[in-house]
């Protein structure tokens, strides 16, 4: 009797254990199902006729202008409004999902989207518009790099995410931006011929606004007496080229690295010797190093916006450039 009793208890225990395992498995299964069905529902949502995904903010603003007011065309910014330059950007699962449902992926090109080959190998069908195509490019480190005979330290550390051979910050020059807008428009016309006429009209209007702004900026900036500037993060060579500014030194070519003490000291001496008029930081990055240079050498830190983050507004580029013009006029006169 006793033995049977014990046996019974054992089997009961065993039974409850398998029950528990089974219950856990059932729960897991239910969870998975809930998750998947959730995804499924999202997919059956009504989709726009033509979906444009841009890699980051600057491209997004261009695309907003080119597709302005066209029914059934939706523009979405993959990296979000606050990511800024795609230095070091890690593709996330939601990005790939986003791209999978896109009709066109608009990229800056010139090495800015270092993850692009991953995208093309995963989604070979996706049509990509490279807005830098055929544009004039500056070799990376060609401008203002004479002081930057580096110890190699920052470079070895950042090897993974340099932009390659050319500087990708093309859109900061208005002329180049116009070229990019035209490339973008052509790409969209090819991919979505139904709306080609509207794309063309929008592009014409936007390019007109841009070139009008460029003329005004030349008028304001050309007569300024002092043209030596120091910038942070290599976003301004194209801009400097357009307005004939002399970038004496770029500190922090990679925005996420800290300048070494020697680099800071050299920059301060350079600022003092070359009569640099102003140090320009960017709103997207912390100013600590710029503040150091400014307070040691007694010149002011100003903010120039390369338009890599900003409001969700199609005039954001125009407004930011207008602001940059005012800043330059104040800083350099």
């Amino acid at each position: 009797m006793q033995i049977i009793c014990i046996y019974d208890v054992e089997s009961f225990k065993k039974g409850s254990e398998t029950m528990r395992v089974r219950r856990a498995a059932a729960l897991l299964l239910a969870l998975c199902l809930a998750l998947f069905s959730g995804c499924g529902r999202a997919r059956t949502q009504e989709e726009p006729a033509f979906r444009v995904v841009t890699s980051f903010y600057s491209m997004y603003i261009m695309a907003l202008n080119v597709t302005d007011g066209i029914e059934g065309v939706q523009v979405e910014n993959m990296a979000g409004q606050q990511t800024g330059c795609l230095h070091d950007y890690q593709l996330q699962t939601k990005d790939m999902k986003n791209l999978e449902q896109a009709d066109v992926f608009v990229v800056n090109g010139a090495g800015m989207e270092s993850f692009l080959d991953k995208v093309t190998s995963q989604l070979p069908e996706l049509s990509i518009v490279d807005t830098s195509e055929g544009l004039w490019l500056i070799e990376s480190g060609e401008d203002g790099s004479h002081v930057h005979e580096e110890d190699g330290h920052e470079h070895t550390e950042d090897d993974g995410h340099d932009h390659g051979e050319v500087n990708p910050h093309i859109w900061v020059s208005i002329s180049e931006c116009i070229g990019q807008v035209e490339n973008l428009s052509e790409g969209l016309q090819k991919a979505d011929p139904a709306h080609a006429e509207q794309y063309r009209a929008n592009t014409e209007a936007y390019v007109e606004k841009l070139s009008e702004l460029r003329d005004r900026m030349h008028e304001a900036i050309d007569p300024l007496p002092n043209r030596n500037i120091v910038t942070f993060h290599e976003a301004f060579p194209y801009f400097a080229e357009e307005f004939d500014l002399n970038v004496v030194k770029v500190v922090n070519r990679e925005p996420d690295s800290q300048p070494s003490a020697r680099e800071l000291a050299e920059t301060i001496r350079l600022v003092e010797d070359a009569g640099v008029a102003a140090v320009f930081a960017e709103p997207q990055y912390p100013e600590s190093a710029a503040d150091i240079i400014a307070s040691e050498s007694g010149i002011r830190v100003w903010t120039l916006d390369p338009v890599t983050t900003g409001p969700d507004d199609k005039d954001a580029y125009l407004n930011a450039m207008e602001q940059n013009m005012e800043t330059l006029v104040q800083a350099l006169s």
Binding site: G80, Q82, T83, P255, A261, L264, A265, E296
Partner: protein, 284 residues
Amino acid sequence: MEFLYSVIDTLLPFEWTEFNFMKNAFVAVLLITPLFGLVGTMIVNNRMSFFSDALGHSALTGIAIGVLMGVDNYLLSMLGFALLFAVGISAVIGSGVSSADTIIGVFSSTGLALGVVLLSASGGFSKYSSYLIGDILTVQPEEIALLGCVLLAVLLVWGLFFNRFLLSSINGDLAASKNIREGALQKIFVILVAVLVTVSIKWVGVLIINSLLVLPAASARNVARSMRSYHAWSVGVSMFSGVAGLILSYYLGTAAGGTIVLVAAVVFAVTFLAGMVSGRRRAA
């Protein structure tokens, strides 16, 4: 501050003290490194080097919480989280469920992962990567005052509790028999380490903060003969590595934090060899 600058100018009229940012960094190093040397001795004694590492990692989550709450100064959110984290670790260890290194490992990786997930949620982790390697050059005069306060506080705690710390780290039973409450004592120490790590993480960096805690004390153990000389060596090595590393980084153009740690590592190698040689001589 002006007075301090002129003192440095007269005492150290070198190229590397020409600019104020280097003077600031120099003063900050003189304040931080003795702290690390001092607290490091007990960390090495109690085999807690893994613990301080975990605290460093938790700072990332602290920053992320600060970012989410939209505060400009992450010090408070980091400090709050680090204290929570430290007390949490020591409570879980105290429960005796699993070995200390396993629990610390669990907490450490959780703190790091949570920080990475929260900070990269917007895809912009690189903005915060300066916290990984630290940046002593951006230290501001107000922050130097803060470091001075922390130094004073740590010295005070050390003066009050050192004997009890020491006894409980050497022999817990003996300490208990003398009516020392080990649990409370451990909490005090853990909080001390949390404050130190949090306050200095911005300039030293998550990845190397632990080396600064461990290396000087480890070097000191190689050569010290008594508790007093152990402390003196540890503080001395720490300050020497800090100052030498800072100066070297200026002339070599390298990252200050990493250079300081490398100097400390070289000192460790030298003291290790010296300790071996003298040990053999005594044996002979």
